[in-house]
């Protein structure tokens, strides 16, 4: 018989189509509506933040891997996801050099020092955001309402111009002035806030896409949004307001669902989401910041290994001694 080039490799010899790089690019795709909404609402400055954040993240990753003599894997899309996610949590007019510092921190300290993709303890994008929040708090809390979006405030427009709705609610603005929360604007995203967090509609579009392709686990957003809504009701507040304002939606669907920094067990993921919801609510009500998503998720990241250990599923056929 003539010789044929034959491959010998371990079973299984067929593989599912979804690859890690494919997943990352799907996440990027899912974030595009939110990014587009941000650019439409906040204009060119937002676009500059997005582009500089992605570029800085990808370059930082390549540089790190080059310095450490490792394989350069920016093609897997994970650095681009981190850069994009970070950008979407930043104020639209953040100076470009701050953006770049945040993205570099996210990749270098948040991810590469731990060993790269799959090894970091904390969500890199949120680590970058926390770093920026601690370094340049004023710039990080400078908000801007999209052009023409303040008509709901009537005569108080000047008083609300630099604040997000969460801050206004915290100050008791709506109650004092007898002004209605602009819910339809909250849903469409026509409000002040981070570039990609304001449009609930755009975020939900992306979330449906990720859920439909089973890229993210529904248990996490269910636990997160469920806990937040229930606590809001118990505290006599409007749960819809809590869900639509601030960074809850981008956090619940895109940050808390990060594979690397959440428990791998199904039960652990639900409780992880639950914990994020509870912490977000507590920080909003009792904390020093008007918004609590960043720290809620980062704190739960730290608790993830513990949650995972506590929720290891019962094996098929397992006979537990003391049952």
């Amino acid at each position: 018989m003539e010789t044929t080039q034959l491959t010998v490799s371990p079973a299984p010899h067929i593989r599912a189509r979804q690859s890690t790089a494919g997943i990352m690019w799907m996440v990027v795709t899912a974030l595009l509506p939110a990014a587009a909404a941000g650019v439409v609402l906040f204009g060119r400055p937002a676009l500059i933040v997005i582009i500089s954040s992605i570029l800085a993240a990808v370059l930082a990753e390549a540089l790190c891997q080059w310095v450490m003599g490792r394989r350069i894997t920016v093609g897997d899309g994970s650095a681009a996801v981190t850069g994009l996610l970070l950008a979407l949590t930043l104020p639209p007019e953040l100076p470009w050099w701050m953006t770049i510092s945040g993205a570099a921190f996210a990749i270098i300290i948040g991810k590469q020092v731990f060993g790269g993709l799959g090894h970091n303890l904390f969500n890199p994008a949120l680590a970058g955001r926390a770093f920026l929040l601690a370094s340049w708090p004023t710039a990080m809390m400078t908000w801007k309402w999209p052009a023409g979006s303040l008509s709901w405030a009537g005569g108080s427009a000047d008083a609300v111009a630099g604040a997000t709705v969460l801050e206004l609610a915290r100050r008791g603005f709506f109650a004092q002035h007898g002004v209605q929360v602009p819910y339809s604007q909250l849903f469409m995203g026509n409000i002040a806030g981070s570039i990609g967090e304001t449009s609930a509609l755009a975020l939900l579009l992306g979330a449906v896409f990720l859920l439909a392709f089973q890229v993210i686990d529904w248990r996490i957003p269910l636990g997160y949004l469920g806990a937040l809504a229930v606590l809001a009701v118990l505290a006599g507040q409007n749960p819809v307001f809590h869900l639509l304002s601030g960074g809850v939606l981008i956090g619940a669907f895109f940050m808390a669902t990060d594979y690397v920094t959440t428990p791998i067990t199904p039960g652990g993921r639900f409780f992880f989401g639950l914990g994020c919801g509870v912490l977000t609510f507590l920080i909003r009500i009792y904390g020093g910041y008007p918004e609590g998503v960043t720290y809620a998720i980062l704190l739960m990241n730290a608790a993830a290994p513990l949650l995972e250990k506590a929720t290891i599923p019962k094996r098929f056929g397992e006979v537990r001694a003391n049952v």
Binding site: L6, T7, V8, S9, P10, H13, R15, I264, T265
Partner: protein, 443 residues
């Protein structure tokens, strides 16, 4: 149709349409067969023939050694030309009896069989003896000598016999064709097994993608209340023994236990048909049905081949390999080993030959685990394959053991879904092998 199933699992593309409609063709006896002395789980058989001896098909040529071992018969008539080491489907070189064809026809029936005797007159004890004499082993792949399952440990009773007709491995259609073309043999074998075990009920589990089989079997078995044909959902690994038992009876075989612990014995439908042949005609296990399929073979077929037929003869009969053939797999794509040579013999547990093209062979490079949890979501045994893989990769065997590595049945589902293409199943197999070896050493 209400179909039963197990929890979790995966849905790989079936790829069975290539051969599902092609009737089983009998391969003419090849000019040479190679019969390894070990084609089963257990001790190798001892040769009873010498080089130069003339043998007839069906003649016993090697004797089982002890309880867990299987007798071997000549699969063609001819002359023994060598007893020597030969490449074996396990990847090793193992002793085998080589027979050159001299053109003889037919076979000599196994001693003690009285063809035509009704099942009612044969006792269970006799059937067990015949299973041994006929060299019967499980034909789904594992090849445990069949009689072993019919000697339950003291105090255990067999209530149900389950025939595995799930054929959940993609590409394979040999069981499909066998059940469709020889339903009476399958049912007869099942009745004989039930009688042997004293079981009150017999089930045949068949995946819904074989609706024609379900219909035929249900018709043929309609008058018998002790037999039930169970439609199963199309899902992998539906035919894994413990998943099948759970799907059909709802019973969970405890870890470290055997199916008989929950009153069940599972056999492959091919084994049942082989038992029927043995009891009805005296034909020992000397041939089997295999599926030859894949993008890389010119004429995919379902073939009945004499045991010991070399892959090269089968491939030649199927029009040869295509120019871009790139991987040869014995069995299905999920669990079958890949081989680099065509002088391997078909043995009792060989279900098929799958030829993939070079284009079908994906990227071999793997990435670090990103903890996506897909393997955890689908593992039918609810293990954490990502951790088993990590510990096994780093040779941390104690931790692997604690996370249940020995409970893995190596179905391959975790490696199938892994987006980072990690060879999880391979690492797990390695770890299991090392742990077993260490245990044997320390006794």
């Amino acid at each position: 149709m209400r179909a039963k199933t197990f929890r979790k699992g995966i849905h790989p593309p079936g790829n069975k349409e290539r051969t599902a409609a092609i009737p089983i063709e009998v391969l003419p006896a090849p000019k040479r067969v190679v019969l390894p002395l070990c084609q089963h789980i257990g001790a190798p058989a001892q040769p009873l023939v010498t080089v130069g001896e003339e043998v007839t098909a069906g003649q016993k040529i090697a004797e089982a050694q002890g309880m867990v071992s299987a007798t071997l018969h000549a699969s063609i008539s001819g002359k023994v030309t060598a007893i020597e080491e030969w490449p074996h489907p396990t990847g090793k070189q193992l002793p085998a009896i080589v027979i050159e064809n001299t053109g003889g026809q037919g076979f000599s029936p196994a001693p003690g069989v009285n063809p035509g005797r009704p099942l009612a007159e044969i006792t269970g004890e006799e059937i067990k003896e015949l299973m041994r004499a006929g060299g019967l082993v499980g034909m789904g792949g594992a090849a445990l000598p069949t009689h072993v399952k019919y000697y339950p440990p003291a105090g255990k009773k067999i209530e149900y016999i389950i025939l595995n007709g799930a054929e959940c491995e993609p590409f394979l259609t040999c069981d499909h064709r066998l059940m469709l073309e020889r339903p009476e043999a399958v049912l007869y074998g099942l009745k004989a097994m039930m009688k042997t075990a004293g079981a009150k009920k017999g089930y045949i589990g068949v995946e819904l993608n074989k609706a024609d089989v379900i219909k035929v079997l249900q018709e043929k078995a309609s008058g018998d209340p002790t037999i039930e044909i169970v439609p199963l959902r199309v899902k992998y690994p539906q035919g894994e023994e413990r998943m099948l038992i759970y799907a059909i009876t709802g019973r969970v075989v405890p870890t470290g236990g055997l199916p008989v612990d929950v009153g069940v014995v599972v056999n492959n439908v091919g084994t049942a048909a082989a038992l029927a042949d043995l009891l009805q005609t005296g034909k020992p296990l000397i041939s089997r049905v295999i599926t030859v399929t894949g993008e890389g073979i010119n004429e995919p077929k379902n073939l009945e081949v004499p045991l010991g037929t070399l892959l090269e003869d089968i491939v030649a009969h199927c029009g040869g390999l295509k120019d871009n053939a790139g991987r040869i797999i014995l069995g299905g794509p999920m669990t079958g080993p890949a081989h680099y040579r065509l002088d391997l013999p078909v043995i009792k547990g060989t279900c098929g030959i799958l030829i993939q093209t070079r284009e079908e062979i994906g990227e071999m490079e793997y990435m670090d685990c990103i903890r996506c949890g897909k393997c955890v979501e689908i593992c039918p045994f609810s293990l954490l394959p990502n951790y088993l893989g990590l510990y096994a990769e780093k040779n941390r065997l104690e931790e692997a053991k604690r996370y249940g590595v020995m409970e893995c049945r190596e179905c391959g589902s975790c490696a199938y879904v892994c987006p980072s293409r990690r060879p999880l199943t391979q690492w797990i197999k390695d770890a299991k092998r090392k742990i077993t070896a260490a245990q044997r050493k320390t006794g």
